[in-house]
């Protein structure tokens, strides 16, 4: 599954990661909001980013019908393992969560959160935010403080 924003960036979600998202849709797992982090690799030369792995809700996270709060614990451990095993090429690339609506749109809390995460120093220049809806998956990124939606390549 490939998304892009103008000529600037291409984002590919690898099959294994996509399967995890698809499972939410297939099994209609939307009663509680779920979420996690996006992990993948950057190819600066080609402006191409691959999402290779995602994490799913961990023990410390808080899930409710209309809210998901992700903690650091658990997710950071998974990130550390992938970081080392990939010889420091796989890195944190953003966030995903579910919305119980067919074609999802970010809420005010989501937007504020995305902007905040994009301003963190230690993060990669490109970060992506995915919302998995009951019918489709949508992707956003933040460019110069503004949230923009990526288009899906058909």
């Amino acid at each position: 599954m490939i998304f892009f924003y103008e000529e600037l960036i291409t984002l590919e979600i690898e099959e294994s990661a996509k399967c995890k998202f698809d499972n939410y849709i297939k099994n209609n797992k939307f009663k509680l909001e779920s979420g996690g982090i996006l992990i993948g690799t950057l190819n600066h030369a080609m402006n191409k980013i691959m999402i290779t792995d995602i994490t799913e809700p961990q023990h410390e996270d808080r899930q409710s019908r209309f809210m998901f709060t992700r903690r650091e614990k658990g997710h950071q451990d998974i990130m550390d393992t992938l970081w080392e095993n990939s010889h420091y090429t796989k890195t944190y690339l953003g966030e995903w969560h579910t919305h119980n609506e067919p074609s999802p749109t970010p809420s005010f809390v989501d937007k504020r959160n995305w902007i905040k995460i994009s301003e963190r120093d230690k993060n990669s220049q490109w970060l992506f935010f995915i919302i998995v809806g009951t019918r489709e998956i949508r992707v956003w990124t933040v460019i110069q403080g503004k949230i923009v939606a990526l288009s899906k390549k058909s």
């Binding site: 909001e33 992990i39 809210m67 992700r70 997710h75 950071q76 970081w83 119980n100 999802p104």
Partner: protein, 337 residues
């Protein structure tokens, strides 16, 4: 310990001032043209050459954006016909005067200072030589414009011999490691000595210490069929040899023991390059070399790349690359209402 060769090479790329630096070359060319256009008729023929660290391939970028360019001007004159070397220096000064705010005669050169708005500062130092002498040797003009008689003199000098001596000591990739290690030492100096006064060893004195005590550190990798260089070990061994070359000496005036060092220029006039430093200053130099070694030992003991780099950043400053041993995930919150 971790292999840090890549980090050292990245560090070197960041700090080196290469001969191909176009801005420096431009500034030099402009002044050389000006010199040939304006030099007085009395001045006889001359040739110019690059000297200084930049010509030896051991220059580092200045942190304060204060660039030094060293140019040698060889006049085809016999020093015996010019008892006053200041006269010859004035030929150059007068030809360049008015080019920038400041052209001044210093003890060992004529210095042109460039400063435009917030651009970096450039000093172009012209060292003036008499090159057609009875003994076939070269002499540098020393003295300021209003120096007394005894401070104006022609001093034996062999700047080009020095460059060749340094350049020919090693070949090819060995020579590259030699020059890299000299640059590391100079960067260490920038970060560990407070002033530019006599308390700081000069760039040339560090270069000559490396000339005397450096040895190539490499191993042959049979699978890749090539030499693999180890700059960390080369630097470590050099620092240890420098430390060992100090001797312990009683200083009458201070009534104290000091670690002191001396090393001679390998060409004319074969002077001790530490002659301007006091025993006390030399002792402080010794302490700093010792600290360098302790910190390098600390690097050896680190298993994590980021920890090793953190120590090296303390030695060399922020130009040494840091590596992250983590990709931070932070926290996140979302809501659908």
């Amino acid at each position: 310990m971790v292999n840090l060769q890549k980090e050292f090479l990245d560090f070197h790329d960041k700090i080196k001032l290469s001969d191909e630096n176009t801005i420096l070359r431009e500034k030099r060319e402009i002044l050389l043209n000006k010199l040939s256009d304006n030099i007085c008729d009395e001045a006889v023929t001359y040739t110019t050459f690059n000297q200084g660290s930049y010509a030896m391939g051991t220059g580092i970028k200045p942190e304060d954006d204060d660039y030094d360019i060293d140019v040698g001007v060889k006049f085809d004159i016999n020093k015996d016909n010019y008892s006053d070397p200041i006269k010859v220096k004035k030929w150059v000064r007068d030809a360049l005067d008015g080019h920038t705010k400041s052209v001044e005669i210093r003890r060992s050169c004529v210095t042109v200072t460039y400063q435009k708005d917030d651009e970096p500062i450039y000093h172009v130092d012209f060292a003036i030589y008499a090159a057609a002498n009875d003994d076939g040797k070269m002499y540098i003009a020393k003295g300021k414009e209003f120096s007394t008689e005894e401070n104006r003199k022609w001093e034996l000098s062999d700047p080009q011999g020095l460059i060749t001596t340094i350049k020919d000591k090693y070949k090819d990739d060995d020579a590259k490691q030699f020059r890299r290690v000299i640059r590391y030492l100079k960067k260490w100096r920038t970060h560990n000595f407070s002033s530019d006064g006599n308390g700081t060893p000069t760039g040339i004195s560090l270069t000559i210490l490396a000339y005397n005590y450096f040895s190539v550190s490499k191993t042959y990798d049979w699978s890749k069929q090539k030499d693999v260089y180890d700059d960390f070990t080369a630097l470590y061994n050099l620092a240890r040899s420098i430390k060992n070359s100090f001797s312990y000496k009683w200083n009458e005036t201070d009534s104290q023991w000091y670690h002191t060092i001396s090393t001679d220029l390998p060409v004319e006039p074969y002077n001790n390059l530490f002659e301007k430093m006091t025993d006390k200053q030399l002792n402080s130099f010794y302490t700093k070399v010792d600290t360098l070694l302790t910190k390098l030992d600390e690097v050896k003991g680190k298993d994590k790349r980021s920890d090793a780099c953190a120590v090296l950043i303390k030695i060399f400053g922020e130009d040494f690359p840091s590596t992250v041993d983590k990709s931070m995930v932070g926290t996140s919150e979302s809501a659908s209402l």
